[in-house]
Symmetry: D2
Subunit: 380 residues, 4 copies
């Protein structure tokens, strides 16, 4: 019988639901030494957190996150709150000796991130950051293929994350569901929210980024603020794009925006190697596009791989070939890997240190965009 | 707090897992008056059913399905066993006053199916058949669009279900995982297994089928039988295709096979109406292809609708726009609807009577293929 | 310097233009021993044929096709008129010792077709039928792949040809541009017009068809006739579908219609073999979809081959890799092959005898649809 | 009867063929007041140019381009030679009062380009630059849609041009077919060859570019030079990418490379507007992807428009709906428009002045890449 691992969840929004679902499902599909127990959920609003707890089966609720962290019966703290709270909570949780599963991006900036790394490493607590897209089977397969050398030398890496939900000038900033538009809560706009995913994947797949030149744009300069009721300056980046060089010599091109009409959550990447190329996109996350130059000349073409077979990463644990899984499953895989790493005493990537690398690129992006120059990524 | 509904599950295979997952998840995502409780799971093999129960959280196990059905603490029986057992179990469950959720196809033939309909109607127990694809959001949306008249008069309906997993002559028939190749257990091959889905959807979307001309083929005539150890004649249809006329005058064309190299579980349909057309396929189940003749001439084209918005059927209960759900969610939707119908005292479609319609088409198919003539579908 | 081959063109419609363009272009792109000379064009309407001749550079015009055929300076007659005139013209041209390039389908029925075959074989004149789709590079490549054994045993062949241009009941029948709706001129509807293409390709790729069961439908029963001015019964088939067995044991499924809203000229085929499968469609005629089971399991997928490389059939004669050719080029290829065969003294396929095979299937289709039974294809 | 326009062609390579084909075909498909006559073709190698002239029907040949330009019977000079010769030839042709059709890019740089503009404007001769992609029907349709306001305010413009034909280090530089790798002949690499197309289209569709930040890369630093026989430094850019701001406030992102394994000639662009978005790519040039936010919410999706209808730009002159044209037709359209403009006494865009705008962006790109800074585009 699997050992219980008591989860203390802070937050109850979109990510709170996604993580809770993952905790509940993981042992139905994966053979693991541990099983997450939904011990307590925490938020300031008592009614809301109680309703959330009822819906998901959390055994208890708290309204003070410090109290949650101090509870003896909590093994791991899951931080699912706006970015400006990550650092403080993580420091407290580490100090209390709790494992930490922190939503991305790690922090508001790499200064905060560095403190968080120091804290968890000093406390020697298991830690991970929810860059969930690494564990979409098609993306995990990409990592394997690159590591096996199937692509050879990489020439180009391009990625974008396109959305269109903030085009209306009537959309306010701040408050529930809209904190991503509020620079005080989010730290940045699409760079921290969307590009962070692209960068995490890119570093994982193609190694570190050496230097970059970035630009940002805020198309709608003022929006009503939900919390103050006033029209206020928008402090986040609505769009952000950058060119870069990777440590391995590859050229990178990245873009994200919430003004790309027609795209809801289109995260895409393409990698061009000497021997083969790969493309993937989140709107059809169960497919991988693969081009292999070794194929007979007349018959070369991009293969559309339906990543649903038993020999595809994670897929042997689900249904039968041809049947898709969806977005939520990437979180289940993350929990499964976290628990497996826990059993083995290994870090579960991306851990805080690893995720700090993405934070450093994010800092460089905002710095470059502000200065209008190329900047080196500070590997601190 | 939702009222418990105690489930007694018979079987623990692929469908046993899919249904169990649905029961466990449904209340996390849907507001319902009832909540399924995994009360007992049943199979002849004690060790296997215990392992299954442990994995999914069933409170108890049984090794005799008759005993399960008799248990006072079971409200609903879920029949997840090979087709040749459906009838007997359903009759017993109805006699015991249990609700029944029966895997598709309803029965081995329409004679059996008719008995089952009679039994549940006499016993006045809630009943439904797991034709899950109706509740893929894109398919449900199709139903709405047709009902709203967006397509106008329907001229053509074509569907196929293509797989490729039985091409090897070395694959045996019979036994766990392979009972679908054994005519004694399955009753038929691709017609009952795959075309049954196509027919259920077709009747739902386009009304009844009047008459048809069918052909079947068994490409590999003999296979080793797992249970007897001997090479035996293969009694199922490896491939089946038929032409038909619907009651509304539309022409139909259907095909299914397990010899279509390159397709894992490619269920597709296309409907051509006077005003608009629709296409869907299971390999990208979160998309719907829609062509509307009303669009401005220069700008007409097939729209690839990413069926992941809050105003798409069922999708408001899941994540945010752009994020896919998968195969398993169709079962969650079925349970949600079953419970909602239960609360309202309405039948949950397809109920046994409705599913009998598909069975009658299946009978006509095998009859036509055998005789080599057109046959009317017996609406008996 | 290439030897002139004097062309006498009968007709000036859509096909008259397509063929004339092919004659004019072929020597710019292919090295050939002959070069077509646009010697004379013929039609009853003097003004119209003169305008056509001026546009395309025909040296002279005729208004009596019998006179054209008798001209000493004509080497080859191109028959580009409605189906009901093919036989009479071909017999006369053969009698006059002219080569014949005849539009498809060969004839109104196989009785006529047999006479035409007899005539050209007796006269020993070069002859070919314009089933142009064989010479779309992706289709020609398919033929090569099958002949090389890449697909192995063929299990399934399915094809359809979908259009939507006759859905309006206001469209009249008969007369210029609309003779395809007039049974007196066309002989049949979609079967002779569209399925004829599908059948020609199918027989070429997969061998002869043994027997079949077909159905036809005329959705709009009466249309105004352009020539008589009266509302008259529609004698053609608006839609036609059939199931069949090929001589090699493969199952076939074919459909064509002019009531498939959203499809302009969507000719598609898919072939499922033991080792590999192939798909093609006319709306993206420069692509071939190819699935090879030999590919490594994790990386198997349908390849979308952009058939524009120098090692693809015919493509070395055009531009550079990645640049598409279009519909009209299939006719250029046909002329190139006709001239090459002429130089070698070989028949250019499909010749009349070969095209008679398609006519026999068409006869069987109409016969089966009328009787409502399976019929053997008469290979008479 | 159309007035002859005598063409003097300089060059006989890929573009010489594409233009010759266009001159030969244009009057078969378009009603025009002029008709091109292939009067003379010119190249240094007498045998080669004679073979070319024979193949295409040029009436005569020249081996000295100055002599061709001086010929009284030449009305228009077509410059189809490497970039380093454009300026000199154009100046001479203008001085001789000839119309000029010049291959793209206009010149080696904008200094040269400015001289060419001055020359043709002073001489008042008709002039145009072969940026042929403007006249792919789907691209022309895009222009119309933007001009009609269908997209509303533009937020993003992204384009790339991806090829993979120079990945091998064994490929030499210089000489026939390889002058594009030789900086002395080409002036630059992918920027002038490929990005030039992207920029021309972008300025046409979205207005001028204000400033940009670019980077270039030469992956393979040395290649054998065909003309010298020695291994020499490669002076061209193998890859080039840049970010920019358009005058209208839109953000731009551009990339081109010859190291994108799997792409032969994949020119793509995507434009995101407030109301609608558009995507296009050269590998399926007959399609346009269009997303309209005005569509009913549930039914919004990217439309794949098969740009082959009579109401699509240029398409009424070709075949019937559903039948594709190809790459070569963009040149036919350019000639048709050139002749129509000639008849009306209007400039045919892009004329030299217009094409100078693209040259100024190209200069800014190379300047920015060299300096590693943002630069303003000199509209000098």
């Amino acid at each position: 019988m699997a050992t219980p691992l008591n989860i203390g969840m802070i937050g109850y929004g979109f990510m709170g639901r996604a993580h809770s679902n993952a905790y509940r499902k993981v042992n139905n599909f994966f053979e693991l030494k541990h099983r997450p127990v939904l011990k307590a959920a925490c938020a300031r609003d008592k009614d809301k957190i109680q309703a959330f707890a009822d819906k998901w089966g959390y055994e208890s609720v708290e309204t003070d996150w410090r109290k949650l962290i101090e509870r003896k019966d909590i093994d791991a703290v899951d931080i699912c709150v706006p970015n400006n709270l990550h650092c403080e909570m993580a420091l407290a949780a580490a100090a209390a000796g709790k494992m930490i599963l922190c939503e991305k991006p790690l922090a508001m900036n790499s200064a905060e991130g560095a403190k968080m790394v120091e804290a968890v490493e000093k406390a020697k607590v298991a830690n991970t950051v929810w860059y969930n897209y690494r564990r979409v089977p098609a993306v995990t397969l990409t990592k394997k293929l690159i590591d096996e050398g199937k692509l050879g030398k990489i020439f180009h890496y391009r990625a974008n994350f396109l959305q269109d939900w903030t085009i209306s000038a009537d959309l306010p900033q701040g408050g529930t569901g809209l904190w991503r538009l509020d620079v005080a809560a989010a730290g940045s706009g699409v760079s921290g929210d969307l590009l962070a995913h692209c960068i995490d994947t890119a570093i994982w797949l193609n190694g570190s980024i050496a230097n970059l030149s970035a630009m940002t744009e805020t198309f709608i300069k003022e929006r009503k603020h939900t919390l103050t009721g006033k029209v206020e300056k928008v402090g986040i980046d609505d769009a952000c794009q950058f060119m870069c060089r990777f440590g391995n010599g590859a050229l990178g091109l990245f873009e994200s925006t919430r003004y790309a009409r027609g795209h809801k959550a289109l995260y895409t990447f393409e990698i061009n190697g000497e021997k083969a190329s790969i493309k993937w996109d989140l709107h059809d996350l169960h497919r991988l596009q693969y081009f292999d130059h070794k194929d007979e000349g007349r018959l070369r073409g991009w293969r559309s791989i339906h990543v649903t077979d038993g020999d595809h990463p994670y897929m042997g644990n689900w249904w039968v070939p041809g049947l898709q899984i969806g977005y939520e499953h990437s979180f289940v895989h993350h929990v499964a890997d976290f628990l497996e790493c826990l059993a083995k005493g290994e870090p579960c990537q991306p851990d805080f240190r690893n995720a700090l690398g993405t934070q450093q690129v994010l800092d460089a992006i905002l710095d470059s965009a502000k200065k209008g120059t190329w900047v080196d990524v500070n590997k601190g």
